[in-house]
């Protein structure tokens, strides 16, 4: 089992830093005491433009941080090849790669390269980092998508249900289920799912993103996206699509159930909070049906804090994907990250971590936009 304890931590750190810079809306917002003046749409536009511009310094700081942390531990050549080459040979290679220059020079060079879209070449297998990112990034994105779909389908309705049945048997049951979901380490859940559905029942494949035939078809496809679901749809072969989905089901479930557990608790708590508001009683006094009160009147205002947490959760999904990908040999960024970490390929690791940082920063921006669209107090 390949498992690096670092990646989730990095991801949390990224979320933290970007939260500091682009402060998450609503969650910490003070209640409005004074009605705001009516504004036209320009208020929202301005707000979004500022949020968008803030992404740049966020990414810049995170990139700097990643670069510096990597270099603190020494140069990449020694890290990757130390002990296997003589001191002279090492020095020669370090010099050739330019790692013996002052760190600040290397830093500016690196920043310059990133701006031109050049992330360097991996040390261990000599591939352009950009190619690694696009190939495996697509796989990770696909997995995160499946997981999110499952998390939304399970977490949100059942969270509402738990709030509706607050402190009664269905609620107690759902809460226990939620705890089981998110307290079970994702690799363990993955192994149990594999054991039951793949080994015992033999319903689903054990690992990978497709059978060899599927993989071959995917490689041959022109203009492939790397996202198998889309590619399979484009090939238009039902068997291949079924195969892709069968392979995605278990990893998606393992990662999705974990997130679903968190969503469930999150939705439940926030909906219970808004259910006690006067406006729910007010709607009830107008004759609105009980479940509609939960589904519409309590859920919609509760969404605002929920969205913020969901955004951070997406960041954690990418970190969590490392374990899932390893468990199911899903060849994504996380799986690849562990490979490169083992090979001590700092250039590759650096590239992957920076990409994760970018994704988190952009996710945060999207979350802000969604939150603004839901909350009319931000919109106007």
């Amino acid at each position: 089992m390949i498992w690096s304890p670092h990646t989730p931590t990095i991801s949390i750190g990224i979320t933290f830093v970007s939260t500091l810079l682009i402060d998450a809306p609503s969650a910490a917002k003070k209640p409005e005491t004074r009605p705001k003046r009516t504004r036209d749409g320009s208020g929202l536009r301005r707000y979004l433009i500022i949020r968008l511009l803030l992404i740049v310094p966020t990414i810049f700081i995170l990139t700097t941080l990643v670069f510096m942390l990597m270099r603190v531990t020494g140069d990449p050549i020694t890290a990757a090849l130390g002990g296997r080459l003589t001191a002279d040979q090492l020095q020669e290679r370090i010099h050739a790669a330019g790692f013996d220059r002052p760190i600040i020079v290397q830093y500016f060079e690196y920043i310059g390269q990133i701006f031109t879209g050049n992330f360097g070449t991996t040390l261990s297998d000599n591939r352009p980092v950009l190619e690694v990112l696009t190939t495996y990034g697509a796989a990770t994105l696909e997995l995160a998508f499946y997981a999110l779909v499952i998390a939304f389908i399970i977490g949100i309705p059942f969270g509402m249900l738990a709030a509706y049945f607050r402190d009664k048997a269905p609620d107690a049951f759902l809460r226990v289920v939620a705890i089981l979901f998110y307290a079970t380490p994702v690799f363990f859940a993955g192994m149990v799912l594999k054991l039951i559905f793949s080994v015992w029942l033999k319903w689903l494949p054990v690992s990978g993103r497709g059978t060899t035939t599927t993989e071959l078809e995917m490689q041959l496809l022109k203009g492939k996206t790397g996202i198998y679901l889309i590619d399979a749809l484009r090939i238009g072969d039902g068997a291949i699509l079924a195969d892709v989905l069968a392979h995605a089901l278990l990893p998606g479930l393992a990662l999705g159930l974990l997130t679903a557990g968190i969503f469930l608790r999150l939705v439940r708590t926030n909906v219970i909070g808004t259910l006690s508001m006067d406006y729910v009683d007010a709607a009830r006094s107008r004759g609105v049906k009980e479940f509609r009160l939960v589904r519409v009147h309590a859920y919609r205002p509760a969404l605002i804090p929920i969205i913020t947490v969901i955004g951070m959760q997406i960041a954690l999904l990418l970190g969590g994907a490392v374990l899932t990908e390893s468990t199911f040999e899903w060849k994504g960024l996380g799986y690849q990250l562990t490979q490169y970490l083992q090979a001590r390929d700092f250039v590759a690791v650096q590239g992957i971590v920076v990409l994760l940082a970018v994704i988190v920063a952009v996710t945060n921006f999207i979350v802000d936009v969604v939150a603004a669209l839901i909350d009319p107090r931000v919109r106007y």
Partner: protein, 569 residues
């Protein structure tokens, strides 16, 4: 005659961890067609529970017995709310009985347009009603409750409306189904006095034009005098007196009613008391430098992300002499709290000059101000949230002493705390209790003790009694006056309630939209107001006497009409 609402022998109790708690016992009241019945009482008297019971809105922990018989508009059928099933209850709510809530900003869902919320109620009773017809109906009702430009505002979100407009929308929602009965739970408590008068007028129209009966829940005797036909006084879950509004104010029978009426602060009633106090400008005050001296004070809150800021206080001149109590009145958003916070160094001054204890606050660094903090006491509005719930009352009161007078040592501090609690008439055994174990009035007295712990020269009291019941408020105000006379601290007393300010203050300042529009002694400001806003404020205040209030209502209407004429078109 058939009453719209007839409650017989209603008992309500709540299941708690400590067994059942009775909230309402043996309540029997009835409301006739087109009648306004006021239910008055203090917090915990069971009036809100009764109101919610009429709509069947009690939580599941409540058990009720007796009967609540509610007739529909045309009197053709009656239902017993205590016994009907859930689906029947849903058809009654909104159609036969509607509710108006205390806080309009929480009674409207912030993420839905107001029109949507009205239409939803209509369609809940008539799913086949098409949206267009429902929308027309919504606009119509918004127009009827006096919301300007209803065809535009129907698409507004609640936060785009002012507090008074929001309450109009809430009332529109109640009226739209033309129910026979409206239950209004403290409908004006969260509103400013001038807005309150408008909403009371609207509720009167609900009765006169729409023919609705109203159950009015309130603690404000002025509101009762203004609107009610009959009054039921509740005390500890029981109706102790039920009579018509005139008899209530002129011949109260029950002891509790008498006590309640006596505790209501009335403007001018304390004139003699205030005259006895040292008038400002006498020898003692004028020789010393003022404790607070503001000239052309301006305070602005910065806007978020490049938006223009909000000017809360604009060009205010104000001074407080040593030992003087200055009252500051104004409606919400007038800047009164901001001034108090600026004097206490809690908000930055952005322009002009503010001298506190001789120090210029404009540009003051927090570090330099720290030593003056001990000279300034602060009493917050809500005693429930101004205490750390994890500390005992004794620890809370001792905290300023531990910070500023650590050298006294534990023994002396304990003794001082005991003395302080005694001075606010709290038994010292209360010191070991936690804030939640005290009543609101007791907590506010503890808060007063805490603010006086360091023998401050200046005390800032920001709405210290607005969260309290009238009788409790009277006690706290009395205590405040006694302590002030004894300790001779200067005080800034901030309140929205003219009568309360009148009781305590040597001088009164009236704030309106960040500007000080009027200043002077109580007799000057309240006896002979010159500024139109002060006049309207005074005229809007409902007095606890139905006859006088009726006259005043006429006077207010004239004043409003005159103001309207005076405005340039």
């Amino acid at each position: 005659m058939s009453d719209v609402l007839s409650i017989r022998d209603l008992n309500i109790s709540f299941a708690t961890d400590h067994g059942a708690v009775k909230a309402v016992t043996g309540l029997s009241i009835s409301v006739g067609r087109g009648e306004v019945l006021a239910i008055v009482g203090e917090s915990g008297s069971g009036k809100t529970v009764t109101a919610k019971a009429i709509l069947g809105l009690l939580p599941e922990t409540a058990t009720s017995s007796g009967s609540i018989s509610l007739r529909n508009r045309d009197g053709s059928s009656a239902n017993d709310i205590v016994r009907v099933d859930k689906s029947k209850l849903r058809t009654i709510r909104g159609k036969d009985v509607a509710m108006v809530f205390q806080e309009p900003s929480t009674a409207l869902n912030p993420v839905f347009k107001i029109g949507w919320q009205i239409i939803e109620g209509l369609r809940a009773h008539d799913p086949r009603l098409n949206i267009k017809a429902a929308r027309t109906k919504a606009i119509e009702i918004l127009d009827k409750v006096g919301l300007p430009e209803p065809e535009i505002r129907v698409d507004y979100y609640p936060h785009q409306l002012s507090g008074g407009q929001k309450q109009r929308v809430v009332i529109a929602m109640a009226l739209v189904q033309n129910p026979g009965l409206i239950v209004a739970d403290e409908p004006t408590t969260a509103l400013d006095v001038t807005v309150q008068a408008e909403i009371l007028d609207l509720l009167r129209r609900c009765r006169d034009e729409f023919g609705a009966s109203i159950v009015l829940i309130t603690h404000n005797m002025g509101v009762v005098a203004d609107l009610a036909d009959r009054v039921a006084v509740m005390y500890r879950g029981e109706v102790v007196e039920e009579t018509d509004v005139h008899s209530l104010f002129h011949n109260p029978v029950h002891e509790y009613t008498k006590k309640l009426l006596a505790a209501v602060p009335r403007i001018g009633a304390w004139v003699d008391a205030t005259n006895e106090r040292t008038a400002p400008g006498d020898s003692l005050a004028s020789e010393q430098a003022p404790v607070v001296q503001a000239s052309n004070l301006r305070i602005a809150y910065p806007g978020r992300m490049g938006r223009p800021g909000f000017v809360a206080v604009d060009g205010v001149d104000l001074s407080i002499q040593p030992g003087e109590v200055v009252g500051l009145v104004g409606e919400s958003g007038s800047g009164k709290t901001t001034i108090g916070r600026a004097i206490a160094g809690l908000t930055k001054v952005s322009g002009g000059s503010l001298k506190v204890l001789g120090e210029e606050m404009n540009g003051m660094k927090e570090r330099n101000f720290k030593k003056f903090r001990s000279q300034i006491g602060f009493v917050f509005q809500d005693p429930a949230s101004s205490f750390n719930p994890l500390l005992t009352i004794e620890q809370c009161v001792a905290e300023p002493l531990w910070i500023h007078r650590k050298e006294l040592g534990e023994g002396a501090i304990r003794a001082k705390v005991r003395e302080l609690l005694e001075s606010v008439q709290l038994p010292h055994s209360y010191g070991e209790r936690f804030p939640h174990e005290l009543s609101g009035g007791q907590r506010q007295r503890a808060s007063l003790a805490r603010s006086l712990a360091l023998d401050p020269q200046l005390l800032i009291a920001d709405e210290p009694t607005s969260a309290l019941d009238v009788s409790v408020q009277a006690r706290v105000l009395e205590l405040f006056a006694e302590l002030q006379a004894e300790l001779k601290f200067a005080a800034l007393f901030i309140s929205h309630d003219l009568a309360v300010v009148d009781i305590l203050s040597d001088r009164i300042g009236v704030l309106y939209r960040g500007k000080l529009v009027e200043e002077g002694t109580g007799a000057e400001v309240l006896g002979d107001p010159r500024d139109p806003y002060t006049r309207r404020l005074l005229a809007s205040l409902p007095v606890p006497d139905p006859e006088t209030q009726k006259e005043r209502r006429g006077a207010l209407a004239q004043l409003r009409a005159a103001e309207l004429l005076a405005q340039p078109a």
